[in-house]
């Protein structure tokens, strides 16, 4: 109940500040299992995609969050588990489990996921090179549809070190689904995926 109210409150807030518009360019919003992968410039990116998805998809689409940061306080933990249903990934390399393990589990369960293949937030307009995770998941789950997305303008809402967000319109552009071609090299695929994301900027 409380989580539901919180999610309505957040949705309202995001729409008020950013418009949270989704632009479906290469595919319609559809309840099939998908991996959305996007550029990453702000903490709000995750929430932005979450808000841009239609209600039916929001419940079955889970984002990824860093475990150490998002479980630090009870409130953060509650927010990420109850409201966003995120998948926790540990960032420290000391643990011997595969960092992709939680994602694989979620995909095996039939959930869709939101992935930021740059691994970290960039500060410039150009996304950094994509990391291997996307390729590994795509080859392991060939039936999951890969949807590139470009998140626009969010970094202007709340720049680093500021506390009061400003309202500017942001949008998420979803592109045409893509696949790993037969025998495609990891690097080639990752570059192709990155180009697909960047190409959406000018749509």
């Amino acid at each position: 109940m409380l989580a539901k109210l919180m999610s309505y409150f957040l949705l309202g807030l995001i729409r008020f500040l950013t418009g949270a518009q989704a632009r479906w360019h290469g595919c319609p919003p559809k309840a099939e299992q998908r991996i959305y992968f996007a550029n990453h410039q702000s903490h709000a990116d995750l929430v932005m995609i979450w808000a841009a998805l239609p209600k039916e998809l929001r419940h079955i689409t889970r984002a990824i969050a860093a475990k150490d940061y998002w479980t630090k306080s009870p409130f953060r933990q509650w927010l990420t588990t109850e409201v966003f249903h995120v998948i926790y990934v540990s960032r420290d390399r000391t643990s011997d489990e595969d960092p992709l393990e939680p994602l694989i589990e979620a995909l095996a369960n039939g959930d869709s996921i939101i992935l930021f293949p740059e691994g970290t937030r960039g500060h410039t307009g150009e996304p950094q090179a994509f990391k291997a995770g996307l390729y590994n998941l795509a080859t392991r789950f060939p039936n999951v549809v890969l949807v590139p997305a470009w998140i626009n303008n969010v970094q202007h809402v709340l720049p680093k070190g500021e506390v009061v967000p400003v309202p500017v319109l942001c949008s998420v552009t979803f592109g045409a689904p893509m696949q790993v071609a037969d025998g495609e090299e990891r690097r080639t695929f990752l570059d192709r995926a990155r180009n697909a994301v960047v190409a959406l900027r000018d749509v």
Partner: protein, 329 residues
């Protein structure tokens, strides 16, 4: 009919006005719906007709929304009307700032613009501090905001960035806030009918824009400034402004003026409105977009609100201050 309306109380008159306007809108919606049912011989004309109809449909829907906003505003008193226009200001400014990319150093100034300047300006209207209301933004805000920007320690394109922000504030907050301010003016012998003044202003300016648009489409004259607008030319501008002013003179009954004065005031409002719209077009060309809500680029989730209200934002302050001057308020 006219005498019947004349003898009603002010409240009943405004009510009657809304009934008439809602009736006209309903009629146009029905006509548009019936037109959409028509079959067309070949596909090509059919597509063209459907595209035209879609355009018309958009205009009708905006008009519904505008009238509905006015109606709610009128029903619930000036304070609600003020908040409604405050909301419009907010969304228009959001659109403007989205398409005029800012740098991170502008963040504090943007926060001030949205969350301090905007509410303060509308508060000044609500409390009828008209002298302060007129100078608050052009004097105090314009001197204070660059300080916030300068403190952000980013000199790159400083003048340009500040100019953008100040233009946004001028058009979207200062201009827009003059529309509900009309509700607060105490015109002599015109008690409780100020809703008519807002209505008069909006109707005349919209009428002028529509006529100018239609005439320029029919006449197809060479544009006066082709790099800015392909549809703007002086003959259709004159026709638009004059027919709207005549229309305003016909509406004199709902204003505190005689037809001649109403004509003059409509003229002033239309010139300011159309010229303002033209200037906003130049700003849009500078950004390389066809409209504030353009679907051409990924930058925007805007609905193009600013495209619809920009003429009003320019007409309102000029109209307001000339009316104040005329009545010596």
């Amino acid at each position: 009919m006219y005498h019947y309306l004349k003898n009603l109380g002010p409240t009943q008159q405004v009510g009657a006005l809304f009934i008439i306007v809602f009736g006209l809108l309903l009629l146009s919606s029905i006509v548009a719906f019936l037109m959409s049912l028509r079959e067309h011989g070949d596909d090509e004309t059919g597509d063209r007709k459907r595209a035209e109809l879609k355009n018309l449909d958009g205009i009708i829907r905006t008009s519904w929304l505008m009238v509905f906003v006015f109606w709610v505003g009128w029903l619930s008193g000036p304070l609600v009307a003020l908040s409604l226009f405050g909301g419009l200001s907010f969304f228009a400014l959001r659109e403007f700032m989205t398409l005029s990319p800012t740098r991170l150093g502008d963040h504090r100034s943007l926060v001030l613009a949205f969350f301090v300047v905007l509410p303060l300006q509308y508060w000044l209207v609500a409390t009828e501090h008209f002298d302060m209301f007129a100078v608050f933004i052009p004097v105090y805000v314009f001197l204070a905001l660059p300080i916030a920007s300068a403190l952000a320690n980013d000199p790159q394109r400083f003048l340009e960035r500040n100019a953008k922000l100040q233009w946004g504030i001028m058009v979207c907050i200062y201009g827009m806030s003059h529309v509900p301010a009309l509700l607060m003016l105490k015109f002599p012998g015109y008690d409780h009918r100020n809703a008519f003044m807002v209505f008069f202003l909006v109707l005349v300016v919209q009428f002028c824009m529509a006529v100018q648009h239609l005439v320029s489409r029919k006449l197809k004259l060479p544009p006066a400034a082709p790099a800015i607008s392909m549809s703007f030319n002086w003959p259709s501008w004159w026709i638009g402004v004059f027919s709207a002013s005549l229309f305003g003179a016909l509406l004199a009954g709902i204003t505190p003026w005689v037809p001649g004065t109403a004509f003059a005031f409509s003229f002033i409002a239309c010139v300011a409105g159309t010229m303002g719209h033209f200037v906003m077009k130049a700003l849009k060309r500078d950004r390389g977009i066809p409209s504030w809500g353009g679907n051409m680029r990924a930058v925007t989730g805007a609905g193009g609100l600013l495209d619809r209200v920009d003429a009003l934002c320019f007409a309102a302050p000029v109209f307001f201050h000339s009316a104040r001057w005329y009545f010596d308020l």
